[in-house]
């Protein structure tokens, strides 16, 4: 007997090939049925007429800042922002204080999330101790404690030998290695994409080649080691071409794109506004077009936000002193609909894949499907809803978004995790 019936929505479940107006019944925290005209009996009903009902969205790249930087975000606040953005699962990067480079920190995150988080939180472990790039972290015990991948996000492993060893160890454990690709010597001191705009503003540039060089190295190492390798927040044309090349050769290489890298280019940045400062930087138009093309072609398999909260005190400084990163959980769906679906680049179904089966496959997560018996994580959204983002009402603890005041066409309506509605639009 169902507990909740979601009535009359357009159910899009790429994993099972469903794209139909029908009902979804949930019982015991799991999907009980996806059929037409389910008899609700005593179940609670949710009228989804005119809405899309999809498997719960997964954001495989967020920063929750806890432990260590709770003034910027906590596991609880970040998870609330995720729920408000339509995400039912988020994967948190290890650059906390202390770094998530051992099972104790992993367990702290997992247990805190269990107590306070609104959504599923899957920790990602560090590749090296302290993400210092020298000694491999304890992958095995972190995996037992719950990590779903390894990454030194933000502090990429510069030493190719260490990266090779990391890939070998991760491959043996079935963990995906995620890299923030940035050759730190080439990007040193840079504040924005190297090009006309950086030259014009007198700011030091981060060349696209700093990303490309490391993607090239890593693809060769992935071939050498047989590792599952994933490029975080891919943003450059050549890097995307190389990922496509690697995939054509049958390597287990994947990539994700952030909404801001397909929504904004460097010539749309207001001068010296730190809410437009992130890594990789907003790149020039040709790279933005390449990210779009990569999403269309499949070289990019997931959309991830790289949600990176920073308090106002850190972002209210001279541009070159401000930290990198923007928040993104609440605006991702709106940006994807606007730039990818409403613009006619991809179908709604393909967009749902990028938020569900794509990341689930990359991380081998048991999520992203509405098959009978699957965990009842669902994202219900209205592709036509007109709404304006007010960052001052964000559920994140931070306010660093370039999309404040932007009016979106399409946004989340309700978020269901384990069969419970954890967030719904008022």
């Amino acid at each position: 007997m169902a507990r909740l019936v979601i009535r009359n929505g357009r159910v899009i479940d790429p994993a099972s090939g469903i794209d139909d107006v029908c009902d979804v019944a949930i019982d015991g925290g799991a999907i009980a049925a996806v059929e037409c005209d389910i008899d609700p009996a005593s179940a609670e009903e949710f009228d989804a007429t005119g809405l899309v009902v999809a498997p719960g969205f997964i954001d495989m790249h967020v920063h929750l800042r806890e432990p260590g930087f709770e003034h910027a975000e906590t596991i609880e606040s970040g998870s609330r922002a995720a729920a408000a953005g339509g995400f039912t699962s988020i994967c948190c990067m290890p650059n906390t204080l202390p770094v998530n480079d051992n099972a104790t920190v992993t367990r702290f995150i997992a247990e805190t999330a269990w107590r306070v988080a609104q959504v599923n939180v899957f920790p990602i472990g560090a590749i090296t101790n302290g993400s210092a790039g020298t000694e491999l972290a304890a992958f095995g015990s972190m995996k037992q404690a719950g990590i779903v991948a390894v990454s030194d996000d933000g502090r990429p492993v510069m030493n190719a030998r260490i990266m090779r060893r990391a890939m070998e160890s991760a491959a043996a454990l079935g963990l995906t290695v995620i890299n923030h690709c940035e050759d730190l010597d080439l990007s040193a001191g840079g504040d924005m994409h190297e090009g006309l705009q950086s030259v014009r503003r007198g700011l030091r540039g981060i060349p696209a080649a700093s990303e490309d060089v490391m993607v090239a190295r890593d693809i060769l190492l992935a071939e050498l080691t047989g590792a599952r390798y994933h490029v975080a927040h891919i943003s450059s044309r050549r890097a995307i071409e190389m990922v496509a090349f690697a995939r054509a050769r049958g390597l287990r290489v994947t990539s994700e794109a952030t909404p801001h890298h397909f929504a904004l280019s460097d010539d749309e940045m207001p001068p010296y506004d730190s809410n437009y400062k992130m890594k990789p930087p907003l790149r020039s138009g040709e790279h933005v077009a390449a990210v779009m093309d990569g999403i269309v072609s499949g070289a990019i398999e997931a959309i991830a936000t790289d949600h990176a909260p920073h308090p106002g005190s850190e972002k209210m400084q001279e541009f070159e002193r401000c930290p990198f990163g923007i928040i993104g959980l609440e605006t991702a769906l709106g940006l994807a609909l606007e730039n990818l679906v409403h613009s006619g680049r991809i179908t709604l179904r393909r967009m749902v894949e990028l938020f569900t089966t794509g990341p689930a496959r990359i991380l081998n997560l048991d999520r992203g499907s509405l098959r009978r018996g699957a965990t009842a994580d669902l994202t219900i959204f209205d592709p036509e809803l007109l709404w304006t983002y007010d960052v001052n009402r964000s559920l994140s603890r931070s306010r660093n978004s370039p999309f404040h005041g932007h009016t979106f066409r399409g946004g989340p309506v309700a978020t269901i995790v384990g069969g419970s509605i954890v967030w719904s639009a008022d």
């Binding site: 007198g202 001068p271 010296y272 001279e318 541009f319």
Partner: protein, 307 residues
């Protein structure tokens, strides 16, 4: 005009108006700068987060010549060294109600960032490697004291273009006033995108080509403090990018040699050239005061500026 952040934001008419008005403040037959009281009772804060001799002094004299009260603050003597943020420092100063803040800062865009939060007009006296608008204005005034127009004038800017705020402001100004600009320097100090930042700009790595038929040669200081690794061995810099007497034969016979200072004799310019009849380096300094008077007047007493 609410403040002056850069030349890029100004249109040709505004630039021309400032340059025309500057003549009114130039010294006549060594009589010194025209004195006036149009800014009596007004206060100008000079806030220098980077060391500066000529620009700061020049702004101070300009303010005083107009009857304003000028206060100069250097970062090392301020609460910046106590960990105060830039916004808080400026908010504090702004609360004392100065009529304008003249600001130099090592970070590109620092005055632009502050102008979003402060009502007080800000005059950019150099921001990082971005712009130095009053320098470009005084350079243009210096050229126009000797030529009737900038239209189709050939100007070579030579040296560390990548790190030069003087170059950026001059590129915009010269382009807006119709000059043909050639930028020249070693490859790592001459990013190719510079050719696209304004119309009428081209690049060359060859100093002789840059100088050929030039009406004006602007030399730039090698900004060692902003370079992160030597672009070319310093022993080769003067040989390939230092201005020497033999170069002047390639240029227009009335060529003007300019330099924003401070000059490094023997690094980017030979002593013979710096002290030659072609050099207008000290005229530039002199025009600095007059230009800054015109800018202060335009911002603080716009009605006077049109008289």
């Amino acid at each position: 005009m609410h403040g002056l952040l850069g030349i890029e934001e100004l249109d040709r008419a505004e630039i021309q108006a400032i340059l025309d008005r500057t003549r009114h403040f130039q010294p006549l037959q060594n009589q010194g700068f025209a004195r006036s009281h149009i800014l009596r009772g007004r206060s100008v804060v000079n806030l220098f987060f980077e060391t500066s001799t000529r620009t700061r002094t020049s702004f101070e004299i300009a303010a005083k010549c107009l009857g304003a009260d000028a206060v100069s603050i250097t970062a090392s003597a301020s609460s910046v060294s106590k960990g105060e943020s830039l916004v808080d420092t400026l908010n504090t100063l702004s609360a004392m109600r100065p009529d304008a803040i003249v600001m130099r800062h090592a970070a590109s865009g620092a005055p632009h960032f502050l102008s979003r939060y402060l009502p007080t007009p800000i005059i950019n006296a150099g921001d990082g490697t971005h712009e130095h608008p009053t320098q470009a204005l005084l350079d243009a005034r210096t050229i126009l004291d000797r030529r009737s127009s900038l239209e189709d004038l050939r100007v070579a800017i030579i040296g560390d273009i990548a790190h030069s705020r003087v170059a950026r402001s001059n590129i915009h100004l010269l382009s807006k006033l119709g000059a043909q600009t050639v930028l020249c320097g070693p490859p790592s100090l001459l990013p190719p995108e510079l050719a696209r930042i304004a119309p009428g700009v081209r690049l060359t790595f060859d100093m002789r080509e840059a100088i050929r038929n030039a009406d004006v040669i602007m030399m730039l200081r090698v900004q060692l403090e902003r370079q992160h690794e030597p672009p070319i061995p310093s022993s080769e810099y003067f040989r390939f990018y230092g201005l020497r007497p033999e170069h002047l034969d390639l240029a227009h016979r009335d060529v003007m040699v300019m330099h924003p200072g401070p000059i490094n004799r023997g690094r980017e310019i030979s002593s013979e050239v710096a002290d030659s009849q072609k050099s207008v380096i000290l005229n530039q300094v002199e025009n600095g005061v007059a230009v800054r008077m015109a800018v202060l007047e335009r911002i603080l007493a716009p009605a006077e500026a049109t008289h």
